[in-house]
């Protein structure tokens, strides 16, 4: 089953005649190695469901630009259930206002793609939807690798951490490429990193100039950093680094854009196993 070619039914429910999007997506999915059946225009919910069952498809893609999606899309989910075929997921697209998406999802549509979605993203979505096992080889991040705190001067900052909190300083390192001096403080399984700029071009210098000292980023310990970056990119997650780069302590790191994580600068961090 896992190796079977993904079969997709692209369908135009209702009376809408705009099929440019449906045809372009059908072609793009074929170029991604899927088998695509296109129903043609003006299909009733029953016709679409019958075609989906007969063609043994893995997913149904609906397209509507006439504003009738609120009644047509849920109808198909309903008829699928009536035919005991509710395991076939339904996705959709077209001229669909954002406000309608929660309603459609509540009615059992798996996902709505709005105008401007790259076909690549739709293809990847379907692949993940149908073969989730291909994705679970990437485990969720294991732990918080460290929390980065921007400081103007490590020497001035350290007494609070080492004396007041009583944390152990495990090392100080300069990372020239980032223009930063880092102090590592062990706390349980994870670490705090104090980050001091060593020149004016350092991102930390800019950060402090703009916002003052304080919480700077959170790093997550992961495996397969390269594949993970690729996968995030395919999902449309904004990345600051599309390729991993060398970090402190013999690690590979990459940053995600803060908008990907609600304003938090998130770092992915992969340490060489034998270094532990």
């Amino acid at each position: 089953m896992a190796d079977r070619t993904i079969r997709v039914l692209i369908a135009k429910p209702g009376l809408d005649g705009h099929d440019r999007g449906a045809l372009v997506i059908a072609q793009a999915l074929r170029d991604h190695g899927m088998e695509v059946i296109y129903t043609g225009l003006r299909q009733s919910a029953e016709q679409i469901v019958q075609a989906a069952i007969q063609e043994d498809v893995d997913v149904i893609g609906l397209s509507s630009l006439s504003g009738a999606h609120r009644s047509l899309f849920p109808k198909i989910v309903e008829v699928l259930a009536k035919n005991e075929a509710e395991d076939i997921p339904v996705i959709g697209g077209g001229v669909i206002p954002y406000e309608d998406i929660p309603f459609l999802e509540e009615k059992g549509v798996n996902k709505i793609f709005t105008p401007g979605t790259p076909t690549e993203e739709i293809a990847k979505y379907i692949q993940r939807l149908i073969h989730p096992q291909a994705e679970t080889s990437l485990n969720p991040p294991e732990k918080i690798a460290h929390i980065g705190i921007a400081v103007s001067n490590i020497e001035h900052a350290l007494p609070f951490y080492t004396n007041t909190l009583g944390l152990r300083l495990t090392g100080v390192e300069e990372v020239q490429t980032e223009g930063v001096k880092v102090a590592f403080l062990k706390i349980g399984e994870t670490q705090l990193e104090l980050l001091e700029p060593i020149n004016e071009d350092s991102p930390i210098a800019k950060f402090i100039n703009k916002r003052g000292e304080g919480f700077h980023h959170m790093a997550l310990e992961v495996q397969d950093i390269k594949e993970r970056l690729q996968q995030y990119k395919d999902q449309g997650i904004s990345l600051l680094n599309e390729e991993p780069k060398q970090g402190a302590h013999n690690s590979q790191v990459a940053f995600l854009h803060p908008k990907a994580a609600n304003g938090v600068l998130m770092e992915l961090c992969q340490h060489e196993k034998e270094g532990e």
């Binding site: 705009h18 001229v95 401007g116």
Partner: protein, 550 residues
């Protein structure tokens, strides 16, 4: 200077004088902000035969520079915004508001069930009633739609194709009830079925019977509605489906030739119907190519009508066209950017000498436009007309090395497509074989790939994106409307003279297979008896079958 140039120039001057008697120029003299006087037309100092042959003078064959001698110096293009939603009553209120604001032309959008010949209570109509336009089932709806709107005072453009005959008959019947005779009615029906198979999708019957209905309309209108445009041959939807500019013109003109052929075959003389043919094009993003496209289309059509069809009336040679800006170029992301896109596209249509123009609203990638968005769209045209000065001389791009090259090149490539289509056996055959559909699909897919690879930049979509909150105010059609419309139509059915309806429908059925009987008078009888759009179309469905696509 060649004598032929001088003759033509003299003739143009005379014609311009004649025209300005009826439509005086907007100002006595035109000038720029620096008081530089603007002439009506600019030509090269040294002209040759080539100039006369390729460009000529505005209002003269081959009309490359425009179909009227003074163009927008006398009158701006018609600003005609497409509207219609929900019930006939709501749309009527909107129309009357627009007329109060000084608009003289109406443009009716019908909902999909009406366009495909289903009544609102048909199971196929579920969810679609009143969504993309007004729902019309019977004459009663049409009476409501034009209530208190004098049909001898307005011109009405109706975007209706497969059931165009039925809707036109309803329009005639409303006119009769108002005491307006047929010959006074003005307006346009889209009535272009070939592009429905190619790109737009609201077909009902197969191509052959559809062509027969169209020629029946041509013949009937020639005798009864001499001021009505019987067809609007449309490249708009072909372009929206993803074609290139060249394909848009080529396939539109190929379709136009198929209608001319069919009409001639049905026994009409070319000059009897050709002056009432109108065109409808798209204005897309590439400014100079679009302007050149319109100029090339005029020249190509003029040559075909004069040289190929031997039309003698100059009105048969003139390609008159409506333009709408490109809906598919609008983005859902940063929708206010669409205002700028629409302005540039509209400008290219004006540079190309359009007769009328619809500017799209910024929110069309999201939903039907709100009133505010529709107003900005109209204001965009008004700014181009009144503030930019581009309408102060005729064909200001004429003579640009680049634009003339593009015009020639487009003509050349269109002609090569026309040859290909002729070899296939004409547009009807090419449609049936899916030739145009395939060509368009290839172009659409290529455009999508180029966009995704970042080779073509769409601002706000694949570059210059921002995080945006989506909080657009959008127009929604009341879900209750469908129920009310269904009830209204069912009550009409209960209260009409059922025998009269059945007799009228059976007359249509009998005539359907006899192409020597014009269907129009029979359809007119049926709509007057309150037979519905769905009932009339169902009779013809039984006779002709349904087109099911490729």
């Amino acid at each position: 200077m060649s004598s032929s140039f001088r003759n033509q120039q003299e003739q143009w001057k005379k014609e311009a004088e004649k025209v300005t008697e009826r439509f005086p120029e907007r100002k006595e003299t035109f000038e720029t902000s620096s008081h530089i006087e603007i002439d009506r037309l600019y030509t090269p100092d040294q002209v040759d035969e080539e100039y006369v042959e390729k460009l000529g003078f505005p209002g003269q064959y081959p009309y490359t520079r425009g179909i009227q001698p003074t163009m927008f110096r006398s009158r701006y293009w018609t600003m005609r915004q497409y509207a219609g939603f929900g019930s006939a009553k709501e749309t009527n209120e909107r129309f009357r508001y627009l007329l109060d604001q000084g608009q003289t032309g109406l443009s009716v959008a019908f909902d999909l069930p009406t366009q495909i010949g289903y009544d609102s209570d048909d199971s196929m109509s579920e969810g679609e009633v009143g969504k993309v336009g007004v729902a019309i089932d019977s004459l009663a709806d049409m009476e409501t739609l034009f209530d208190q709107i004098p049909l001898d005072k307005v011109s009405t453009s109706m975007t209706i194709n497969a059931p165009a005959s039925v809707l036109l008959c309803m329009y005639i019947a409303v006119g009769e009830k108002q005491g307006v005779s047929k010959e006074k009615l003005t307006g346009t029906i889209q009535n272009d079925i070939l592009k429905e198979y190619i790109a737009r999708g609201t077909y009902i019957f197969p191509p052959k019977p559809s062509m027969r209905i169209i020629t029946d309309i041509f013949g009937y209108c020639h005798e009864n509605l001499p001021r009505f445009n019987t067809i609007s041959i449309s490249g708009y939807h072909i372009r929206e489906a993803g074609s290139t500019a060249v394909q848009e013109v080529a396939f539109t003109i190929a379709n136009g030739m198929a209608y001319v052929d069919a009409a001639i075959e049905s026994g009409l003389d070319v000059d009897q119907f050709a002056p009432r043919l109108a065109f409808f094009f798209n204005a897309h993003n590439q400014f100079f190519e679009e302007a050149a496209k319109f100029r090339a289309a005029r020249r190509i059509w003029a040559k075909i009508m004069k040289e190929h069809y031997k039309a003698e009336n100059p009105k048969s040679w003139k390609l008159r066209f409506h333009t709408q800006t490109g809906g598919s170029t609008l983005t859902a992301q940063q929708p206010d950017n669409n205002i700028v896109r629409v302005a540039l596209q509209a400008l290219s249509a004006v540079m190309g000498g359009t007769q009328s123009l619809h500017t799209n609203s910024r929110d069309e990638a999201l939903a039907l436009p709100t009133e505010e968005s529709a107003r900005i769209a109209l204001r965009t045209q008004q700014i181009i007309a009144n503030e930019s000065g581009v309408a102060d001389t005729v064909d200001p791009l004429g003579g640009s090395y680049y634009v003339e090259h593009l015009t020639d090149k487009i003509e050349e490539e269109v002609n090569s497509y026309l040859e290909q289509i002729r070899d296939i056996g004409g547009a009807v055959q090419a449609v049936e074989e899916g030739f145009m559909q395939r060509e368009i699909h290839h172009a659409a897919y290529e455009a999508q790939k180029n966009m995704e690879k970042g080779e073509d930049i769409i601002v706000g979509l694949n570059q210059y994106q921002i995080d945006e909150e989506v909080h657009a105010e959008l127009l929604r059609v009341d879900e209750e409307l469908e129920k009310q419309q269904v009830e209204k139509t069912q009550s009409i059915r209960e209260n009409r003279d059922q025998l009269a309806v059945e007799q009228a429908l059976s007359q249509i059925k009998q005539a359907a297979q006899h192409s020597d009987i014009n269907l129009m008078p029979l359809i007119l009888d049926a709509v007057k008896a309150y037979a519905t759009v769905g009932e009339i179309c169902n009779v013809l469905r039984k006779e002709y079958g349904e087109y099911t696509g490729m």
